[in-house]
Symmetry: C2
Subunit: 146 residues, 2 copies
């Protein structure tokens, strides 16, 4: 049994929620993939192996993952929620290619520090942040030049 499964089971217990087969199936499927999938995409994928599981359950369970810290929820402006597995407490931000939809992850400690500085000067308490750079990935730039 892995770290994140334990975390989720503890979360369920703490909140007096029940450990159901659907939740475990969804958790395993979610941990197995690593993209920034929309609820719909993930549901369609899952349905291939588990046709009995409903969209509503998938949606609710992804929300639980986000609440317990296993998943990070994103909105890259295409009108859909996206989820990704949250590894430990690692944080990263995203480059979003508007050409092909590719998502590139990056970490920049200097930016993170400067954000804290900004918050401090405004006496603002940061709970979360989002930094996304939108544009064209190297492939799309190359394609566009032709």
């Amino acid at each position: 049994m892995k770290k994140q499964e334990e975390l989720f089971l503890e979360f369920l217990a703490r909140k007096r929620l029940k450990n159901t087969s659907q939740r475990m199936i969804i958790l395993k499927a979610f941990l197995r993939q690593n993209s920034h999938l929309s609820t719909e995409d993930f549901y369609l994928q899952l349905r291939k192996k588990h046709p009995g599981i409903g969209y509503a359950t998938v949606h609710r369970t992804l929300k639980l993952f986000a609440e317990c810290g296993i998943a990070a929820e994103h909105n890259f402006g295409d009108g859909q929620m996206r989820f990704e597995v949250c590894h430990d407490n690692e944080h990263h931000d995203h480059l979003v290619c508007t050409g092909c939809g590719r998502i590139i992850e990056f970490e920049n400690q200097q930016i993170e520090q400067l954000q804290l500085d900004v918050a401090r000067t405004h006496k603002f308490f940061i709970k979360s942040h989002r930094l996304e750079l939108y544009g064209l990935c190297s492939d799309c730039v190359a394609t566009e030049q032709q």
Copy 2:
């Protein structure tokens, strides 16, 4: 006649769109206010003086403003689009208070530069970006401590 009105008139001419009374009324009302208003809020405000103008027209016109660079469009995660007047080519990012909804603007050239650095290392061409820090403003922090 001011700068932004000229810009919009040029934009309309360029796109072979018509200069209507509604568009001018909406433009003047939009330039007059300076918050980060949702379409709905702006429409309700406008309706007080101009009950004849429909929501659809307001929505469409705000989109035109965004397209021609007069307005900046934001999504602060509350499920509504928000618009603000874009002054010249000045850019800023936002602190969003999840307690009271207050929006604080900030500019940080170092962060902007580091974003360019990140993009360069990924050979990524930035078209736009969003940086939002979510949390509690100083007032809400103070309130919460009681």
